[in-house]
């Protein structure tokens, strides 16, 4: 593209050069890209910019497109105990971390065990198992939550623990949601690692576990990162199960807390947007950091969402 533009005689003005570079197709491409970028970025801009607005800027008759100053009032309401309507959002951030990180770590460990078994070891029923795992794609979360709620209430009565407001229960249900897909993704990845490398390891006297630990897992790091990120994001973003299982504000994860702030009798959208910004930034940062891995994984496994 640049070559052709440079090849033109540089006699004209900038506009002439632009006109030379631009043809009908380029114009359509550019226009399409700009429309898409605007549609995607404007809501995110609105979220971040609104979090810096004052109550007056929010409540005005016309929307304020650019806040007059970067005011941190909304963030103070979330984190500063001395502020009016203090939301104690730090606890909710912590709850989300307490749910999302264990879910990601346990899912990666368990799924890599299972995926290794399916990809490498010979036993009956493994194809059946792998395919039946995909049925989970079909089952809506709302269908599972009724029996889960009933079952876990039963269990909690017998075993004496709380189902409601119990973050470990939430981790368990998120694992159930994410493990099947994680297993599927990792199995496909393990199958792309040549068997011969492991055979060589076995012949050299490594044990099975040694082979897994020293050869297979290091080779599968991109897939492990993808699965970890994917399960982390699911747990971090999940709304329905948290809505049903959490009642106590001190146990709320971020999505439920944001929902609660939004439904507050006196609406304060700037606070909602500040909380949303805090919840969104880590996901976007993690995503950008691991984008290359994630795209591979997303297309390989067809992540549920």
């Amino acid at each position: 593209m640049a070559n052709r533009a440079a090849a033109r005689p540089r006699t004209g003005t900038f506009i002439d050069q632009l006109a030379g570079w631009l043809n009908w197709w380029r114009f359509i491409y550019l226009l399409g890209l700009i429309i898409f970028l605007f549609m995607i970025l404007f809501p995110f801009y609105w979220m971040v910019s609104s979090s810096f607005k004052t109550g007056a800027e929010i409540a005005g008759r016309t929307p304020v497109y650019i806040p007059s100053a970067l005011r941190l009032n909304a963030y103070r309401e979330l984190f500063n105990p001395a502020w009016d309507h203090f939301q104690n959002f730090g606890v909710n951030v912590l709850n989300s971390i307490k749910v999302a990180i264990p879910t990601a770590i346990i899912a990666v460990i368990l799924a890599s065990f299972g995926a290794y078994a399916i990809a490498r070891l010979k036993f009956r029923g493994k194809e059946l198992m792998l395919n039946s795992v995909l049925i989970v794609y079909l089952l809506p979360a709302v269908l599972l939550i009724i029996p889960l709620f009933a079952m876990l209430s039963q269990l909690s009565d017998r075993l004496g623990f709380n189902v409601q407001d119990n973050l470990s229960v939430l981790v368990l249900t998120y694992l159930a949601q994410t493990l099947p897909v994680a297993l599927y993704m990792l199995t496909s990845y393990f199958r792309t690692i040549p068997d011969e490398i492991e055979q060589a390891g076995l012949i050299d006297g490594c044990s099975r576990i040694g082979v897994i630990w020293r050869i297979t897992l290091p080779l599968a790091i991109p897939a492990l990162v993808t699965v970890g990120m994917y399960t982390f994001m699911i747990a971090w973003n999940e709304f329905l199960y948290a809505l049903v299982f959490l009642n106590d504000r001190a146990m709320f994860t971020m999505p439920i807390k944001i929902n609660a702030i939004f439904n507050d009798p006196s609406p304060r959208p700037n606070v909602v947007m500040a909380a949303s910004t805090i919840m969104t930034i880590p996901v976007i940062v993690l995503f950008l950091a691991f984008e290359r891995f994630l795209e591979e994984g997303l297309t390989a496994g067809g992540v549920k969402g």
């Binding site: 089952l139 159930a176 795209e295």
Partner: protein, 316 residues
């Protein structure tokens, strides 16, 4: 699979037995969690849909009275579920319209985005990353941003823009207007999930053999003809797969509609209805029956789809 012939020896069978044992040991935790928290609950919810389960007997759910098809009858007779007239189509029809239109929109937007990003240009990597933002961002954040952009007050962005342009005189409550809420929720779905379709299509586009385009050039094909006769046929399988996946997921989607409209103003879909029956009116039997009906409609769709569309793809 293995090309290396294994050494046959006396202890081979015991080695094999050990391998099987190791396999089950490695699979056990995943199998337990999936069996206990997915498959068993799925079967259990069939059982619940035939029993009277409310908040009062949740603690002794296994002794809940059997009520036959009462729960299903209650759902079918519920005004929120059944088709009354063209303005009140009921949750079953709404769900089908919502899932189909949103899936097609997601596919079309994803296809356009993938075509835009298919050719290399400076900054493509960054732009592709940005294109994925709606898909990775938490649903709660983006739903509330959208809800606020569509705010019914004059300070809502859409109201402000349309009033400045002189297209409307008084502010509209977009998400609280029958006939507007459903298209907007579908638009939100398209906005949020097109990146998924884009990624899959892009991966396939990059794998198309360039000699096909060269041959088309030799034949003097226009850009549009190349798209129609080379690109689209090459994409057919991946488009079919994305359609299937997204249809299932959109069909089962709860969060997006719940957060945007709460299921009101003509956007009541079956997952929302299931939630409302179960956790707002606390009739778990009726909720489970709704979920069963939802699953049944979905399975019928899948059978039709796989039976007709996928078979045609194979034959051609």
């Amino acid at each position: 699979m293995a090309t290396v012939p294994k050494p046959r020896s006396l202890w081979r069978s015991s080695l094999q037995a050990r391998e099987v044992r190791l396999a089950w040991f490695l699979l056990l935790p995943t199998a337990l969690i999936v069996l206990g928290l997915v498959l068993f609950p799925a079967i259990f919810s069939i059982w619940i849909s035939f029993h009277k389960v409310g908040l009062d007997n949740l603690g002794s759910v296994f002794t809940a009275p059997f009520v036959g098809l009462d729960n299903f009858k209650a759902v079918f007779n519920d005004f929120a579920f059944k088709f009354q007239n063209i303005r009140q189509v009921g949750a079953a029809v709404t769900t089908i319209i919502y899932a189909l239109v949103a899936t097609v929109l997601t596919l079309v937007l994803g296809l356009i985005a993938a075509l835009l990003l298919n050719r290399p240009f400076t900054g493509r990597g960054i732009i592709r990353g940005i294109f994925l933002f709606p898909y990775v961002a938490p649903v709660v954040s983006v739903a509330f941003v959208w809800k606020w952009l569509l705010d019914p007050r004059p300070s809502g962005v859409l109201n402000n823009v349309l009033m400045t342009l002189g297209l409307i005189d008084i502010p509209k409550a977009y998400l609280a207007t029958r006939g507007l809420a459903l298209p907007l929720v579908i638009l939100f779905q398209g906005w949020r999930y097109f990146p998924f379709a884009m990624l899959m299509i892009l991966a396939r586009l990059q794998a198309i053999d360039s000699t096909l385009y060269e041959a088309a050039d030799v034949d003097g094909a226009s850009v549009w003809q190349k798209f129609l006769y080379v690109t689209l046929p090459e994409l057919r399988y991946v488009l079919g797969a994305i359609f299937l996946l997204r249809l299932m997921w959109t069909f089962n989607k709860f969060d997006d509609i719940w957060l945007l409209t709460g299921g009101g103003f003509g956007t009541s879909v079956l997952p929302v209805l299931t939630y409302q029956f179960s956790f707002q009116t606390r009739d778990f039997g009726k909720g489970a029956a709704t979920a069963m009906i939802q699953l049944a409609i979905l399975v019928v769709f899948l059978v039709i789809y796989v039976g007709i569309v996928m078979r045609n793809v194979d034959e051609e």
